[in-house]
Amino acid sequence: MTVHEKHRDLKEVTIPVAGMTCAACVRRVEKALSGIPGVEEATVNLSAGKAGVTYDPAVCDIPEMASRIQEIGYEVPAAHINLLVLGMTPGHCEHVIGPAVRGLSGVQDVSFNFATDTVTVDFLDSVVQAAEIKKVIRGLGYEVQDKGEGADSLDRERELRQQEIRRQTRNMLISWPVATIVMILTFSMYEPLDSLLPDWSDSKVLLFALTTPLVFGPGRQFFVHSWNGLRRGVTDMNLLYATGIGAAYGIAVINTFFPDAGFGGERAVFYEAAALLIAFIVLGRYLEAITRGRTSESIRKLMTLRPRRATVLRDGQEAEIPADEVIVGDIVIVRPGDAIPVDGKVTEGYSSVDESMISGESIPVEKSAGDDVIAGTINKTGAFRFEASRVGADMAISQIIRLVEEAQASKAPIQALADRVAGHFILGVHALALAVFVFWFFAGYDLWFDASTRLMLTPYELTGLEVFGFALLVSVTVLIISCPCAVGLATPAAMMAGTGKGAEYGILFKGADAVEAVSKVQTVILDKTGTLTRGEPSVTNVIPADPAVAHADEVLALAASCEKNSEHPLGEAIVEEARERGLDIREPEAFDSIPGLGVEATLGGVAALLGNRALMQDRGVDISGQIAEAERLENEGKTVMFVASSGRMVGLVAVADTLKDTSVQAVRELRRMGLQVVMLTGDNARTADAIARQVEVDRVLAEVLPQDKAAEVRKLQEEGQIVAMVGDGVNDAPALAQADVGIAIGSGADVARETGNIILIRDDVLDVAAAVQVGRRTMRLVRQNLIWAFGYNMAAIPLAAGILYPLTNQIVSPELAALLMALSSFSVTMNTLRMRGYRPPSRRGPSTLARDAPTAFQHTAVEVTS
């Protein structure tokens, strides 16, 4: 659970809610929370199992919300911790520690065991950290140690899910064998069963004796839940089940003990319908309990990345402590195979670190002194030490989890319709069941009832059924066959899978609306500097005037020596390149920077020049032999500098902001996906065109000042385009905000400060394509799920209502209706699970190979003429 300040008075909190099964549960929890004075807004996401609440902390608090959720039959998985608190005395210390700990927001309960010096605290672990609780107790003068028996909310949630699976497994083990026996006994008068079973096997009393424990055992949950909801004015799926099971069982009991009561007599005992109905619903619940957990696997994977222990240096000694007790500034020791416990900066040692769990990048990243390390990543080979810079909720992994959780708890615009329908579905179905009953009672039965009426896929003949029994049967079948669960699950389940899948690849969607919006994007604007290019100049060409006189490396070494003391970015790029090539860079005896022209230096008593045409012409250096080459390079958008020594031309050095390795591939991929790609830059038109030709964008917007970027985005929107803007989340914030979808690229570990709807952890433009692909794929799943869910209900409900009866003389049996209903919601979940194996095309093998291959621009970038 997470809490954020919304504005001056209101706060936002995300509360985990366990035990919800359908869209009606969502409405129940939303209604219950909205009913608390001080709650401004409550939004519940079924798949994520989370409730996002905006509330006024002066009026209500989190424990009140948790207890209201629990009151209506759901659970709020809380963490608990057992602390060994030394120095406590009974009778006094509980009055000291208790109020102090209870005073922390998020603490639900505190209990004391003085015999074992244990304080047990139940708390909502995203509102308050275990470390804060320990700190408060320490602050009261006690010595506190973690007893190591605590369970965080993830364990608790898993435990609850396991409990649910165990409960439904137990229900299955009871209901299926009994339901099968009841069905066999029901049909015991038919061939070949009649010859195999004794005469008493079709005894209605026997069927009653078998079915009754089933109805009040595994079936009891439906009656209890629906009653709990009804008396608070809310309905859920359980009500449909309870009505269906109750009606089938009630009629059977009446016809067993009062066969002449007119309810169809002994031929109309639907014990097998009640029994199979329970069995199928329990099967559906069991399958959902298993598969629902899998759709939230991504977030679970992220959560499990947070290591629990850390080895730190305290007073010069190594000490293993809980990771949540590491403080900023601690020196943390990491050995081969260790998970990195908190964020920090390497101080000594060298290793390679697997960051794939954060960035999706499969190749380990080398780390040495000065490099940042991220909590949750795995150290591979070497050992190193680092200084903790961010701990607890500030860590990148915590921020990522928060972002993904919030995205999963949010609702996409497409979900609004589904929610409206699902929310009123149950009442609608009951109203329809009433209408169907009235119709068949007063009109349908007289018009079409035939003595040869059968239940679909059964040998049952309903000859003895009278008007009430028939109308009731059809009415009950309508209740059973409808499945609002599928409608309610369709969008959130797919959104959850999509946002989770994005997180696996370092693509963080800030909300379900971002997923929907990115799937509709028509134009992608890429900021040139820092997005398509590296954002810092580097040497692209070194061309000697006469290779017989001076080699390219000699030209570069001369240029670098001139610039050795320069702080100009172009000079720094030349020095950097020379260093990388291992060239000897001499210290100039004299150095003079000439603004707007270049530099003049004295090297070994010889005058050297590095600068533009004007500098050379001013000093009388003949550059005529190099002009053509210089113009060619300038047409490629590069800055050309002439190098001269002793008044003679030595060569050219070209410097440019180079494209990132994947830029060409990314633009190609985006265009292949049918998107218009626009490059936005402050450069002049010639430089911009040169880059644009290399990356093959559709359109260039050059000479755009930083403050005008948002206006350019707006212009494209006014042309009717749905625009995604890709840029630096900090500098390009206004343009990202203006765009329909803002994509902040290369945030690395610092995801919190980024603006934009989508955050790309890696500095790779290909991830823009991947984000669009994940968005499109997710929305395709949403549409498939919605079509299935709505389609199923639209087809199944009329069928159950007897629309085909006048033609076929067959009606849907309650047990067949139960089977179809269970399969409907199961199929939506299964369809969503297909996302698990999905890999965005831009992150598949061939693209990765293409990414590693040199691009056309790279050829020019490494071009050296010697």
Partner: protein, 70 residues
């Protein structure tokens, strides 16, 4: 108006609506050729379904009205 008052009034309203529906159903059956089991059973089923429909409709509606008035 207190929460318990709202619940009491709501119970009165939805029970009344359900009884009225069942009574209308029963009255209509009197005009036709139905046995008493069908009439009573049908009236009960109509009462039951109407109760299920009206309970979650009436309770929040009254609560909203009370909240709006306070």
């Amino acid at each position: 108006m207190t929460e318990s008052n709202v619940s009491r009034i709501a119970a009165f309203v939805y029970t009344g609506v359900s009884v009225a529906s069942a009574a209308i159903f029963l009255a209509v059956t009197l005009a036709g050729d139905y046995d008493w089991v069908a009439r009573a059973g049908g009236a009960f089923w109509v009462f039951f379904l109407t109760l299920i429909i009206s309970m979650p409709t009436v309770i929040p509606m009254l609560r909203e009205r009370v909240r709006g008035a306070s």
